[in-house]
Amino acid sequence: MTSLICNLAGVALRNPIIMASGTFGFGREYGELYDLSILGGIASKGLTLHPRSGNTGCRVQETPSGMMNSVGLENPGITSFLENELDHMVASGAVVIANLGGAHLEEYVTGAAQISESCDLRQRQGQKAVDLLELNISCPNVKEGGIQFGVDTEVARQIVREVRQVTRIPLIVKLSPNAQDIVAMAYMCEQEGADAVSLVNTFSAMKIDIAQRRSAFQNTYAGLSGPAIKPIALRMVHQVSQALSIPVIGMGGISSVEDMIEYIMAGAEAVQIGTYNFVNLHAGEELVSGLTAWMEKEKVQSLDEIRGIV
């Protein structure tokens, strides 16, 4: 019997396939297309303490084998998430990951505390709650003039440390590929008590509208994702996996079973699927059944047999 179960900080996932934050909403829309309970997990749209309306102007551009987005963390805010979305996510049957963003340190900490308290309460009432918290440290720090938190290890350390203190929910830190030293960044997360790291978020990138003679995005730069970035993201996941003892969740451009296997062979405990959800609306179900089929064909009974083999 092949088993796809994987384990993240004591949370068992049916399989290592998680839908990436910002590409799956809160699961409602994809839930109309297929049964979400077959998924390993779902990461919510990035949440912030207060509702955000996101960026104005163009929000998406296609690039060679990739896309750039500048959604700007449009989200209903944590309170609304807890009231209107969490029940629905829990009911999906997949492991629920709340993805947390912020524009400054206090926003992260207050947000984490709010999610945490609300989930404690739910649990005392016997309700299922958020299984894992994914801390997105790639947000621009508005107090420091827009520099990304996730670039400098010591700046990021402060967030990880303080968020860790306010929550007992198992903590994943989601790393930015724009980090100056992604291995040092990941190692810092392990030191500060993170239960796992996930990588990569989108690459800072640019597209110029030559007819208009200005950036295609009002924020000048935007985030690159999709198959184009896979070779770089895979290298980062490999480097980080070699350096850490906590689990690593790999992502960036995954569009096939073979791509997932590459990440797992590079050391990933689980993987996330982002942009491919747009290219193939049934990505989740096809990858889950495809992974099972691959394991049977290759006579791999557990992914542990191949994890980190490279």
Binding site: G22, T23, F24, G25, R28, E29, Y30, E32, L33, K45, S53, G54, T56, G57, C58, R59, V60, Q61, E62, T63, P64, S65, G66, M67, N69, V71, E74, G226, P227, A228, S255, S256, T275, N277, F278, V279, L281
Partner: protein
């Protein structure tokens, strides 16, 4: 996957593509269309699907009217009968179904005529106004379904504007599709004539998922953000922010 039945250039750079199968969908809804070279070969460029409004439907086909404006539509135009497409849909809210007692006009500018054919099939009594900067297209399709040839009004050429020949006071409801500038001109005309016409517009915005999950197609409305692919593409002129609509 869906098989192409025909793919014909009906006017310079404007095509009608017909795809086999029974496809759901109502007037004003759209499909996300992606060209996969061959079943099973993953081609990652172009990556995203392209939104196209349903132009026409039959028991065993669906048709899209499109203009070649970039790589995706150019690729689409290069496909021949028998080749396959990836179609997902129908998505979006579509045009509203209003009471038969309302007097309805349909106004289309350029490619904006694409979703109006299905609307015309629904509103058989509606007056139809279509304007083209250069060549006209799809006009016969409208003529075929109209009960009275007087129902259709056409402008053609860069110096005429379809909005100029619409008198909104004649209609309680107008449904329109076309460039943002044209839609806004129509809204302004309604206002300045103090007409009590309710204007529905079909909007466009770049999309990634088409189903409401990615928030790349958000626009500002008086009720906060709305997703063109989910709450739209049809909005009332009252609720949209014209400035925001001019950004693609």
């Amino acid at each position: 996957m869906a098989t192409i039945i025909s793919n014909i250039e009906v006017s310079p750079s404007v095509y009608v593509i017909k795809v086999a199968g029974q496809w759901a969908g109502a007037m004003g809804q759209f499909y996300m269309i992606r060209h996969r070279a061959t079943q099973g070969i993953a081609i990652t460029d172009p990556l995203l699907s392209r939104p196209l409004s349903i132009h026409d439907q039959g028991d065993d086909y669906i048709a899209f009217l499109y203009r070649v404006t970039g790589r995706g539509t150019a690729l689409l135009a290069s496909l021949s009968v028998g080749q396959e497409l990836q179609l997902s849909g129908p998505f979006g809210n579509g045009f509203p179904v209003v009471d038969p007692s309302e007097s309805v006009a349909l106004v289309g500018g350029g490619m904006g005529v694409a979703p109006l054919l299905l609307a015309a099939k629904h509103y058989r009594q509606a007056d139809i106004y279509v304007g083209f900067n250069h060549h006209s297209f799809a006009v016969e399709s409208f003529e075929q379904i109209l009960q009275d040839s007087q129902q259709i009004h056409i402008t053609q050429g860069q110096h005429t504007n379809i909005v100029d020949i619409v008198d909104p006071r004649l209609y309680s409801v107008i449904m329109a599709c076309g460039p943002a500038g044209m839609l806004q001109a129509l809204a302004t005309k309604i206002k300045s004539l103090h007409a009590r016409t309710l204007l529905y517009i079909s909007t466009e915005k770049r999309m990634a998922c088409g189903i409401g999950a990615c928030l790349t197609c958000s626009i500002q409305t008086v009720n906060g953000n709305a997703r063109v692919c989910k709450e739209g593409p049809v909005f009332t002129a009252e609720e949209v922010n014209w400035n925001d609509l001019s950004h693609m």
